[in-house]
């Protein structure tokens, strides 16, 4: 009897701001099944071991997931930032922050820097092995006394004949306790060729190999990300030929700044996907668990709390996708995109999503009740892992300072 037409007019056939294409949907399917097959079933065991097999890099590489944002000339399949975004999201759904972090450190950090700063020879020599997952990369910027304040870095590279000698210590370096290729930010003095005495103008990137003499490291035990080989690395008179320098002397700060956008965006994409998966786990438990004669998911307060979290996740994803659009448009050379807009929107996405992922995990621990506090339930891992989000990649407070600057504040 109903003849009501529920279609509003007028129509437009195409989305105003299309994002993913058909090939990305296909990639998402294969990435999801890879994660469900190769990672998810092992996460609990790896977590107990505090490790995951190095072979996972090779299998992800063989499946093509590590080369999505790189050129064919270095054995990548891109560059396709949207494809990389899909992989980051699907990897995060494994709910192993440690696995995602170490895989990301190699491809989204170390390889990105080499690709950006390296010469054609350096890229050809280093990137294919990283993208095949045969070698592992990490990025060493943070120091015991210098995090987001990169100007305070004390690691130094001094001229040594035709090459360099590197001294210093880096901490909280994701993946560095077992990586093979480490990209290091060090200061070079004006006497050694830095273009200025300004601390930013002294920063220079170098490539260090784990088997270089004078290189040492130790793994850092962490509250979360327990499968990650995050570590401290020390350089003691490490001798480097000049072909280990990545980019011009003094160009490091520019490379670091330029790479931040992708790093923060990748963190945002991962946090939203992890939050979504965490909420699924929390809701599944709430449906299962009965109290006072009915599943706790049916209590109105929990239904509304889940509705709020779901709304926040969808909102955060919308913002993150807008940041992704801006980053892609900028990479395409769109003249209408200014850097302020990119820095601001990416910073906002990073700020909003990291806190969200933790809030979602905290609520899902809550809905688990006592079980939420037990190590035998996986929800505590999501909670521990998510807590690093508002710290790593620039703390929430740093993000706010960065965003404030874009408004002239």
């Amino acid at each position: 009897m109903s003849t009501v037409n529920l279609t509003p007019a007028p129509r437009a056939d195409e989305p105003a701001m299309p994002l993913f294409r058909e090939e990305h949907d296909a990639l998402r399917d294969s990435a999801r099944s890879f994660v469900e097959r190769e990672i998810a079933p092992n996460v609990e065991a790896w977590e107990r071991d505090g490790s995951f097999p190095r072979e996972l890099f090779a299998s992800a590489g063989a499946a093509g997931f590590l080369g999505l944002k790189f050129d064919a000339e270095v054995e990548g399949s891109g560059p396709d930032l949207l494809a990389q975004a899909v992989w980051v999201e699907e990897l995060a759904r494994s709910l192993s922050g440690g696995v995602a972090a170490d895989l990301g450190a190699s491809t989204d950090l170390a390889a990105v820097y080499i690709d950006r700063a390296g010469t054609a020879d350096q890229r050809a020599a280093l990137l294919p092995a990283l993208l095949r997952g045969e070698r592992l990369g990490s990025l060493a910027i943070t120091e015991p006394d210098a995090g987001s304040d990169v100007a305070a870095i004390t690691t130094r590279a001094r001229r040594n004949g035709d090459g360099w000698r590197l001294n210093g210590t880096k901490v909280f370096i994701t993946g560095a306790a077992r990586s093979d290729d480490i990209v290091v930010a060090a200061k070079v003095s004006a006497d050694d060729g830095a273009p200025s005495d300004d601390p930013h103008g002294q920063l220079t990137l170098f490539h260090v190999r784990a088997d270089d003499d004078g290189f040492s490291r130790r793994r850092l035990p962490m509250m979360g990300w327990r499968t990650s080989f995050t570590g401290e690395v020390t350089f003691e008179e490490v001798r480097l030929d000049d072909d280990r320098r990545l980019g011009e002397v003094g160009s490091g700060f520019g490379h670091i700044t330029a790479a931040f956008a992708w790093e923060r965006l990748a963190m945002s994409l991962g946090a939203v996907a992890a939050a979504e998966r965490t909420l699924e786990v929390g809701i599944a438990h709430a449906r299962d668990r009965e109290a006072f004669g009915r599943p706790i998911a049916t209590f109105q307060v929990w239904r509304h709390r889940f509705a709020d979290l779901h709304t926040r996740i969808r909102t955060a994803r919308a913002l993150t996708y807008q940041a992704l659009r801006l980053v892609v448009a900028q990479a395409e050379g769109d003249p209408d995109i200014d850097d302020t807009q990119v820095v601001r929107t990416v910073g906002m996405a990073k700020l909003l999503t990291q806190r969200l992922a933790f809030d979602v995990a905290d609520e899902c621990v809550q809905v688990h009740g006592g079980a939420g506090y037990m190590m035998e339930y996986p929800i505590q891992r999501a909670w521990r892992d998510a807590r690093v989000g508002p710290i790593g990649g620039g703390t929430d407070q740093i993000m706010k300072e960065i965003i404030a600057k874009t408004y002239g504040l």
Partner: protein, 384 residues
């Protein structure tokens, strides 16, 4: 890759609407607030400019534009210095009249939609009653068949534009509730307010939105012709659920745009106002407060634009619209409240617009389905 839904045409439209709002509306906002009444000329003037039917096909007095044109209007109207005006116009353009275009006969479109687009007839939407709001099935206003037409009895309340409306798009029960068909027995009518037995029982006094006239309506044996039925008899529940999507979405657009206006005002004030020897924007806590709000507004806008894009393409995503309504309403008030805090004593003073905005924005969390109703919708659609 496109990073904005707006084209050069939309930008041009925005510029001309902004000029109109700043030149012709904003200078009167204070007066309208004091009068508790938006001047009557606003409707025909906006109709003359074509602003009441931006997304309506030209054959019905509209401009034939896409939904983004309506988005531009809703965003720009937040610059008029009154929450009441965007609400009153929103009722005219996006709440009371879309069901006529969607469900109406050709004659109804000519008789109601065309003059509404011209601003020569003022429209209201009549859903809430003294004892039924979002629980639409509980409405008691009743139409009984009478010859070729109907006789209607009942009350409607919180009716925006209701004191001056020429017609009300009204939700009315046409058959007793049937447990076998819980959504049936309700119909929509286009009811002329000059019919005998139709009475504006009260102009309601409100804490905010004071320039907007809000009515309690009584209908006593109002004789309504058969052709006043809008759409399909007994199918009104589904029709009004469709209507509510457009209503909530336009509310969310206005909520986000209003939040930006409020935020910009707060930003400007904190840069100017000095305390302890420097502008208060120079204090880190103030900076971070402003950034937190900007982040939330930007995110809400991204979600609302996704929903607008879907709506523009004919998609009907009830969950996302409810999310937009929920976050935009909460955010608009939160930003207004924070702005009051940043303005200090000036924020609390009637001399400035901050307190008016604070009072106005509070309505969004109640009207169009309260926050709690949106959460019920969202959780149901989540399968909870």
């Amino acid at each position: 890759m496109r990073t904005t839904p707006f084209t050069a045409e939309h930008d041009a439209l925005r510029a001309s609407i902004r000029r109109f709002v700043e030149d012709e509306l904003a200078p009167h906002a204070r007066q309208w607030e004091d009068d508790g009444w938006i001047a009557d000329w606003v409707w025909p003037r906006m109709g003359e400019l074509g602003l009441l039917g931006l997304s309506v096909p030209e054959e019905y007095g509209g401009q034939g534009g896409d939904y983004w044109s309506t988005v531009v209007l809703a965003e720009e109207l937040t610059r008029c210095g009154s929450g009441s005006l965007p609400m009153a116009i929103g009722v005219q353009t996006d709440m009371a009249t879309p069901p006529i275009l969607q469900f109406g006969t050709e004659q109804q479109k000519q008789d109601y939609l065309v003059p509404a687009m011209q601003g020569t007839k003022i429209a209201s939407i009549g859903i809430s009653e003294p004892d039924a709001g979002s629980d639409v099935r509980a409405i008691r206003t009743r139409a009984r068949p009478d010859g070729d037409g109907w006789v209607i009895n009942g009350s409607k309340t919180y009716i925006t534009n209701g004191v001056r409306a020429d017609f009300v798009t009204m939700v009315v029960r046409t058959a007793e509730a049937d447990p076998g068909d819980p959504w049936g027995g309700i119909s929509l009518f286009l009811i002329d307010t000059d019919l005998p037995g139709f009475e504006v029982a009260a102009k309601l006094d409100k804490v905010g939105m004071r320039a907007s006239d809000t009515a309690l309506l009584h209908l006593e044996d109002v004789p309504v012709p058969g052709d006043a039925l809008l759409g399909t008899v007994h199918e009104g529940f589904k029709q009004i659920m469709w209507q509510l999507q457009g209503e909530r979405l336009i509310g969310a657009i206005g909520g986000v745009a209003g939040a930006w206006r409020t935020w910009e005002t707060a930003l400007a004030y904190t840069r100017e106002r000095e305390a302890f020897g420097r502008p208060i924007a120079g204090f880190q806590v103030t900076r971070h407060t402003l950034v937190d709000l900007a982040t939330e507004i930007e995110a809400a806008q991204a979600l609302v634009y996704e929903a607008c894009d879907a709506w523009n393409r004919g998609e009907y995503d009830v969950e996302r619209v409810a999310m937009c309504k929920l976050i935009a309403a909460q955010l608009a008030f939160k930003v207004a409240d924070t702005s009051m805090q940043l303005h200090g004593g000036y924020g609390y003073s009637r001399e400035f617009d901050v307190e008016r905005n604070w009072r106005d924005s509070r309505l969004a969390r109640i009207g169009g389905g309260a926050d709690e109703v949106q959460r019920e919708i969202i959780s149901k659609l989540m399968g909870l």
